[in-house]
């Protein structure tokens, strides 16, 4: 019977050891102790997250993750990137394989409730569109009845396109392939008439096409796609850090602080700038971070305008104007809450 007793004790210890979960501050402590951030990213969307020819990760989502690492660890390069497919991304976050998901993920009600996730401030306002070959001679999405459409499985895109065709009473055939690269290869080889995705991704696909000028975006935008970094429910401190990191990128742009002038800005007499950069201490401490957190973000990664123009802006291969992603005072939707 001693055997049984031993077993009972072992089971009891195991029970206590494994049930401690989601205590506030847990993620921050884990990341600090580990010494690097684990970020879930997209494996291959040019301009958002994709390794360049030297194997260095580049893109808007990658820079968002770098900003989080800069804020938390003081070093934007202390990141391990985990490329995830659309289907893998949410389970990977739920299962704690990653600390944060920066992978053009649309904020929806279901994901915030039934999936147990929280979306931080939006880092890119997108919408879903259609990319077609010019040879088809199609001018509007309303002419797409009977078309074969390439779409990524497990995305809001997949649901939107089904809704759109149902609403317009048109028939269509999907071709769903899980790997983004395989999907765009199939489209450019002519397996589908249409490729549908978020406009930013379509621009990225077109930029990597064998002959980009042969493809055209249709005018219809059939959905709202607010893309934002995602964290798990239950760790409010970590959510605050990610949320305010995105807002710090926006705030820096609003204050006119960028990676080139940030050291000069430290001497600024503007109290808003002083509070933001930690010259007047307090904000960083409230987040559980160093007071230099925002300084580190701007110094090492830049402000939102800088990362936008470097990755997806008009001077890049994607050439997407700011549009909805401009600051609120310039007619866009980007709006950081007050830093005080």
């Amino acid at each position: 019977m001693r055997f049984l007793k031993v077993c009972a004790v072992v089971v009891a210890v195991a029970l206590i050891a494994t049930t401690s979960l989601a205590i506030a501050g847990e993620t921050l402590d884990t990341v600090k102790k580990r010494g690097y951030l684990i970020a879930g990213v997209n494996g291959g969307v040019f301009g958002f997250s994709m390794p360049d020819e030297k194997g260095v990760w580049k893109g808007l989502d990658v820079d968002t993750a770098r900003a989080i690492a800069a804020a938390v660890l003081g070093d934007a390069n202390k990141i391990k990137y985990v490329p995830l497919t659309a289907v893998q991304r949410l389970p990977a976050l739920q299962a704690k394989e990653i600390d944060v998901l920066c992978r053009n993920t649309t904020q929806t009600l279901t994901r915030e409730t039934a999936n147990g996730l929280n979306f931080a401030h939006v880092n890119y306002y997108d919408g879903q569109g259609f990319l077609v070959s010019k040879k088809l001679g199609v001018k509007s999405a309303k002419e797409l009845a009977g078309a074969t459409i390439c779409v990524l499985p497990g995305t809001t895109t997949e649901l939107n396109v089904a809704d759109y065709f149902r609403a317009n009473n048109m028939r269509w055939r999907p071709v769903v392939i899980e790997q983004t690269a395989e999907l765009s290869k199939a489209f450019f080889a002519g397996r589908c008439d249409v490729l549908t995705s978020d406009l930013s991704q379509l621009a990225a696909h077109r930029a990597t096409a064998p002959n980009p000028t042969e493809y055209v975006l249709l005018p219809e935008i059939i959905s709202k796609e607010p893309l934002a970094p995602v964290v798990r429910h239950g760790d409010d401190q970590w959510y605050d850090i990610v949320n305010w990191t995105v807002m710090a990128l926006l705030q820096a742009e609003e204050l006119g602080v960028n990676s080139n002038n940030v050291d000069m800005a430290l001497k600024s007499q503007n109290p808003r700038v002083q509070r933001f950069l930690g010259v007047i201490p307090g904000l960083g401490k409230d987040l559980g971070l160093d007071d230099k957190w925002a300084y580190n973000i701007v110094k090492q990664v830049g402000n939102y305008s800088q990362i936008y123009e470097a990755n997806v802006g008009v001077n890049t291969a994607l050439g997407i104007p700011r549009g909805l992603n401009d600051q609120w005072y310039k007619g866009g939707l980007m709006y950081a809450a007050p830093f005080r």
Binding site: V11, L21, T113, A114, G116, P153, G154, E158, E182, A189
Partner: protein, 423 residues
């Protein structure tokens, strides 16, 4: 002379099943030997029989405890993260389209129906795949043993090449071949009237629905039953009288002529559902999609190479003397193969063949790489749209376990049937 206290049988029982039967023997004998009866009063923890039961109960209890712990712990954690649980999503609207389905399906249907479509697609590709694989594999396996040098070498090359290239690579290759090498639908190739080849797949004309086809199917089933009865009768008659019956020809006639007669009686409908190019794509007819074709081709070519080796091994396992003996009895080569070689070879072939069939079913999950909506593909989409990964993965496990166990059950039954009957 029987030993004291029992018969020879008891001694044997003692010898064969060890300590366990000792106490049974003791209990039966009771009064015969007082010393042994006394030992029956020993405390139960020294009784190996009862102790064995206690150990098993303890182990079972611990496994149950661990399972219970994992289950409740998972539930508690999911609840803490506010993640939904249970199968309530079955009755919710799926809202996503599926590219091909044997039953009518639209985005307005439920998740349960979407998953059923996935199951049916997996069954479709697995069933057709297994039938074609066994036929092709048997053919190549026999060809490998051919006395024709070229035929034997060609099959050897086929087997070596196909076995050694990973099946995922083969699938992606065939898929790329289909969509890269065929023209877009507006320039589709039309080798025969009513058949069009394009990068959307092969579209071909099918007979327009007519009630006669239903009756033809019914008659065909009746024909199959008739053939089965006829076969039994012919076998019995041959065993009794030695007279043989032209079974093959008669069966063929029954299976072909009966449906044909039904068709003629039903007014011989000839109207075909011919595909036409409308807008982007063909309407009407039936489509063999590049995804399905690539998946089927990849799985069949890969698995057939293994089956061919199994068939070759099975045939070579039959000793040469058997063939020589059969030939010296004056049997024709066809009958030697059918009556002497195959019944013996099958005993060697069936078990590894079953394992290859299971491999094919499981490899069909690679469909996800080339966009064929098999069960895993639909379940994955469901997982992602509902966020309920545990339920989804659980379903995938149950469904494939069911497929594999049913296949094994059928093959084990067949294996018993062909097994050597020892007399």
């Amino acid at each position: 002379m029987p030993p004291p206290g029992g018969t020879y049988e008891k001694i044997f029982a003692f010898g064969s099943s060890g300590l366990l039967s000792q106490s049974l023997t003791v209990a039966q004998e009771g009064t015969d030997s007082p010393e042994i009866t006394a030992s029956a009063k020993i405390p139960f923890w020294y009784d190996p029989n009862k102790r064995a039961i206690i150990y098993q109960v303890v182990v079972l209890g611990m496994v149950g405890l661990v399972a219970y712990y994992l289950f409740t712990n998972t539930l508690a954690n999911l609840e803490r993260q506010n993640i939904a649980t249970g199968f309530g999503f079955f009755s919710k609207q799926a809202s996503f389209e599926i590219s091909e389905s044997p039953i009518p399906y639209s985005a307005a249907d439920t998740y349960a129906r979407a998953l059923l479509v996935g199951v049916l697609n997996t069954i479709k590709v697995s069933f057709i795949g297994i039938v074609v694989t066994v036929l092709l594999g048997t053919f190549i396996g026999i060809a490998r043993l051919s006395s024709n040098w070229l035929v034997a070498k060609l099959s050897a090359v086929y087997i070596e090449v196909m076995q050694d290239i990973p099946v995922l690579l083969q699938l992606v290759f065939w898929y790329a071949v289909f969509y890269e090498s065929f023209p877009p639908p507006r320039q589709a190739l039309g080798p025969i009237r009513g058949v069009y080849l394009s990068n959307r797949g092969m579209v071909f004309a099918v007979p327009q629905m007519h009630p006669v086809y239903g009756y033809m199917a019914l008659v065909f089933v009746v024909g199959c039953l008739a053939v089965w009865v006829l076969r039994r009768w012919a076998k019995k008659r041959q065993e009794k009288t030695g007279q043989s019956f032209p079974l093959f020809l008669v069966s063929l006639a029954i299976l072909l002529l009966l449906p044909l007669a039904t068709w003629l009686v039903g007014g011989a409908p000839l109207k075909m559902n011919v595909p036409r190019l409308v807008g982007f794509n063909f309407e009407g007819g039936t489509t063999l999609s590049p995804e399905f074709a690539a998946l089927l081709l990849g799985l069949v070519l890969y698995t057939a190479a293994f089956v061919a080796e199994i068939v070759r091994a099975g045939i070579q396992a039959v000793s040469r003397g058997q063939v020589e003996a059969a030939m010296s009895l004056g049997l024709r080569p066809g009958k030697v193969l059918r009556l002497v070689i195959l019944p013996q070879a099958l005993r060697v072939i069936i078990p590894p063949l079953t394992s290859q069939m299971l491999n094919l079913i499981k490899n069909s999950t690679l469909a996800i790489a080339i966009g064929f909506p098999d069960f895993v593909s639909v379940a994955n989409t469901t997982i992602n749209q509902t966020g309920q990964a545990i339920e989804g993965v659980g379903m995938i496990m149950v469904v494939y376990l069911f497929f594999s166990l049913s296949t094994s059950a059928v093959m084990n039954w067949y294996n018993k049937k062909v097994a050597l009957v020892e007399r």
